[in-house]
Symmetry: C2
Subunit: 616 residues, 2 copies
């Protein structure tokens, strides 16, 4: 392809909202243009790279036994009403009415469409397991689309769904998908961090996110310096505190030397910091007690303190019984924060929030700032495991301007539940290997997830098992954002001058730059382009009448992996020579013109093979 | 691919609305399922065939120098407001409001998105000509979606757009696209009828439709038995009537022997049929005079009879001046029909309809059924060229129950315009070669069209020419319906038993059917599949535990071009044999097992080459 025919509108200036490298470079290198906020047009150079990501995803899905299908992008609302998500998806789902006043959805995801398709065809266990996928347009009406295609409104997702007769079969496919994802990202030249969303102490492994490091990432990741432990901070665990007492008996023993707890006057002292200053001690010595309000609690509270009068209701016919509202006291060591995602998960609640000041006063008998575990009976007390090792702590005393000191768990108070509810932070200890944990910001590129029966039950999918009995299949889902993956390749592979494409994703493998595109240089350039093309190498030939500096700068900006410069001087040498430079390296080398084709072809093929080599 | 892993849910029953072969067979052979009216899911077998059509289109577009890009499917309404089509597109365009109450369009076509993208990048004449295309999702909210993907609501279109500095350049690309379209359809195994939409007597060639014959086609085509003349009936011309008199002088001469016209009483006679019975003659002897009401007439009527008082207005600031409403008398030979598309085109009117009874009475002084050209002065008279050769005709006499006989054009009345306004029909004479014309029903698969300046002017696209002067480029557009092309392949290639895929579109090239998939037959089948696959041949291996009859029927239904049957008897022969059958042929042949791979590979490659061979 000749440069002048390739429609590559490079830019010096970039949109002011392009704050990350991939957004800037996709605009500067002429890969992308904006149609509206969060809506883009891929230009030819961008689409070539995009199609390579798509094709890698397709090849690895096929290799993993998944079959590609293509449902419509616009789907009838009826399907979303069946699954219940017509009501629960919120405003990010784009809803449309057509001329007949029927409701439709511009698909944000496709569990419903796939499940409906399979429902009508599934009859026998012999058809299972079944994994189907699409690579198709999606729409999510982001309130704040930004960072270019990293968070657009319209995007392309590879979404796969699988159906299984049992959990073992689901796990097989789940593992195969996890392997396929690792290969996909490796072939794209990406360093991903696989994050088990409910890993470590939380048990199980029904969900894994594939993250890339990003300063503007949506997720905080907790990583171990020694092992490959990686978790989203929302779910991350850490090793138990060394003070942890596994039982009340041991705790009582440990507290034997602690003086009995006693009241201390703390006038006008409300925060932990003020208390530290007042008592000349550290936050680690305090037990912080917070009152939480939880909504739609599914956990059984029939024997929980203070919950005797709570009654369960059913929010809807199909839903399980829940307590619409319940309050809980949560105690944690003074230097730590409560992880509300963990708390909600433990309570099986749809939402947890700090209680209002009035609720706190009503339930603790004291204003905010003086709650404590000793003598607290009006509501259930949940303590973080760190508290189950504290045998000489300061706590609120359930009265204004009063605290207790010398408080010991097991001796002075008991808990309704002991759980891991802390937010893990840098410096905590790895739950797997005992190494030190640190944090990174990350963006999610892919997610594999064991869905279970959510859709197959609500949408009434059944098959006949080996005994002719009707059964409901279990289900998995597996997504990858194609646009975001492409942008992440640029995030990981660029420098000041431009993009540095891996050969697997590069729009072209080689850019040939004749110093002047005429005479012998033109003949040599055309011949080289022709021979490389015959070898299956994708060549961009800079046929423009521009200064060499302009051509070199554009070649660097476009990020084509190999640059071949053809000048009269090299051609005049004996034997004739050209200059080859890898975009990723600083040095260039002179190579005999008649060996250039073989050398470049060999290097590109070698690199493609390396990227796609199966890991042991 | 093993059959049992391929998710091919074949059906015996098909939906009752599946009235055409492709719709029936796409459901029966497990290519397609319905999500809602006009919305479908391509299943794996369907998508494999679909992707082949898509890839053929892509290859031919690239070969013609077009560059692929990808705008979003959902685009901002602002673009459609700029072009004016937000108001003119009507209800088939799916409009959406997002959560911020902004208007969007689910693209039915993409002139606006492409033009907006090019507008921002185009600066110099050196960038022209430029041809961009996409293969992307479209939506048109059809009132009556039917015939499966032949007329769905959501569909995939290849749409290309080109920009040019001058008409010659536009014509070059237009011709290249026409050639690419011919190659695309040939490679798909389709017999298309290229129809110049304003061909023959109408002059010019700024639009060409690529039609396939279809009983349920939307278009009536007029074709010549002798030459390749083909036209949409809306625009079709035919040779002038042999009686045609090129001038009034000649007409007067021809009428010299006709008696003077005279009144005849025709009590209770209103229709041409009644009049024929009454006068014992044929419709060809009558001049039928119809009164038309035309809306927004752009044609200059300042010197037209009866139009002295008409005033022009501007419907909108940018629009040309028009007469909001005007009436015309249209005379045509009694056995012919007026073509209202031609009439509207001549008048440059947005719409023409028959006038109301009241308007007819007001303008002709007689009730409906008695209009005629003689003495008609209240409105302009347009006569079809057939009337300009009638020298002894019967006409209405502008009074109830009265007609004239012996009426001659030129002698007894003159016309404001003589035009071709007849609807051509089977048996008419070809305007090109004089052969006999016949009709077919057809479906449009593709359309190439010289757009001119419609979008570049309304959306303000400019570039600097060689003299640094700002210019507006001219534009072409070129569409192909991918789904419709795929369905048309099945329409043209099927029989009672199922589909008969051309090798270029077949989801798999070969189906291997072991009579029993175990023992030696399994070993031979696996080896054959393996070796064919290594040659790049796509193989479906029927590994199911079904009776041979079931497998053969499914192979016929699926339409895989080559079937290889492996049985114990053939394997026991010396040398071992398999049976090869082409889906398109009745006979099968025994072939040595060790020669089967070479033979099948050779035939498939030969056929792919034949289909893609360039025509001279």
């Amino acid at each position: 392809m000749n440069y002048s025919n390739a429609f590559i509108p490079t830019l010096r200036e970039v949109p002011s909202d392009a704050v990350i490298a991939s957004h800037r470079l996709m605009f500067r290198a002429g890969l992308l243009r904006k149609l509206a906020n969060g809506l883009f047009t891929y230009l030819p150079m961008g689409l070539r790279a995009y199609r390579k990501v798509e094709q890698i995803v397709r090849e690895e899905m096929n290799a993993a036994g998944a079959l590609e299908i293509k449902p419509s992008v616009v789907v009838p609302a009826e399907l979303w009403k069946e699954s219940g998500r017509w009501d629960s998806m919120g405003e990010s789902m784009l809803r449309v009415k057509n001329r007949l006043d029927n409701d439709f959805v511009v698909s944000p995801t496709a569990e419903e469409a796939f499940t409906a398709t399979v429902r009508d065809e599934l009859s026998s266990y012999r058809q299972l397991p079944l994994t189907l996928y699409q690579i198709n347009t999606k729409f999510r009406d982001e309130i704040r689309p930004r960072y270019g295609v990293m968070r657009g409104r319209e995007f392309t997702m590879k979404d796969a769904y699988s159906w299984h007769a049992n959990d073992a079969s689901l796990d097989d496919t789940y593992q195969a998908m996890g392997q396929a994802y690792r290969r996909i990202f490796k072939r794209c030249g990406l360093s991903v961090i696989p994050v088990k969303a409910d890993s470590g102490a939380m048990g199980g492994s029904g969900s894994e996110e594939f993250m890339v490091e990003s300063d503007v990432g949506d997720n905080t990741l907790i990583l171990c310096k020694k092992c490959d432990y990686a978790a989203n901070v929302e779910k991350a665990a850490c090793a138990l505190d060394s003070h942890f007492r596994p039982s009340i008996e041991i705790a009582k023993g440990a507290a034997a030397n602690t003086p009995p707890y006693e009241k201390i006057d703390t006038p006008n002292v409300k925060t932990i910091d003020e208390l530290c200053a007042f008592l000349k001690t550290e936050p680690k010595s305090f037990i912080k007690t917070l009152i939480y309000k939880a909504v739609n609690v599914e956990l059984d509270l029939s024997s929980a303190p203070g919950c005797e009068k709570l009654e369960r209701t059913k929010p809807s016919a199909d839903a399980p019984e829940v307590y619409p509202i319940a309050f809980f006291a949560v105690a944690i060591r003074g230097d730590l924060d409560v992880n509300e995602v963990k708390l909600a998960s433990i309570l099986k609640a749809s939402e947890v929030t700090l209680a209002s000041d009035a609720d706190v006063e009503r339930l603790t008998g004291a204003p905010v700032g003086f709650a404590g575990p000793v003598g607290l009976t009006a509501l259930p007390l949940i303590i973080d495991s760190t508290v189950a090792g504290m045998d000489d702590a300061v706590t609120g005393a359930l009265a204004k301007d009063l605290h207790y000191k010398h408080v010991a768990w097991g001796r002075d108070f008991e808990a309704w539940m002991i759980e891991d509810i802390r937010t893990v932070k840098a410096g905590d200890i790895c739950p797997v290997c005992g190494g030190e944990l640190y944090t990174k910001m990350g963006n999610e590129l892919g997610h594999i997830f064991k869905l279970g029966y959510k859709y197959t039950k609500s949408m009434n999918v059944t098959y006949l098992d080996e005994n002719g009995k009707s059964q409901t299949p279990t289900m998995g889902c597996y997504g990858i954002g194609v646009d975001r993956t492409l942008a992440s390749v640029i995030e990981e592979h660029h420098d000041e001058a431009g993009i540095i494409w891996p050969v697997s994703i590069a729009p072209y493998h080689v850019i040939i730059v004749p110093i002047k595109y005429d005479g012998e240089a033109k003949t040599a350039a055309d011949k080289l382009a022709d021979e490389l093309t015959k070898n299956g190498i994708e060549v961009l030939l800079d046929d423009r009448n521009e200064r060499p500096g302009v051509k070199f700068n554009d070649a660097d900006l476009l990020g084509i992996p190999f640059r071949v410069v053809i000048g009269d001087k090299g051609l005049a040498a004996s034997p004739a020579q050209v200059e080859i430079k890898r975009r990723s390296e600083k040095e260039n080398r002179n190579v005999d013109l008649d060996k250039a084709v073989a050398e470049i072809t060999g290097k590109i093929i070698e690199e493609l093979i390396t990227l796609s080599r199966k890991e042991r």
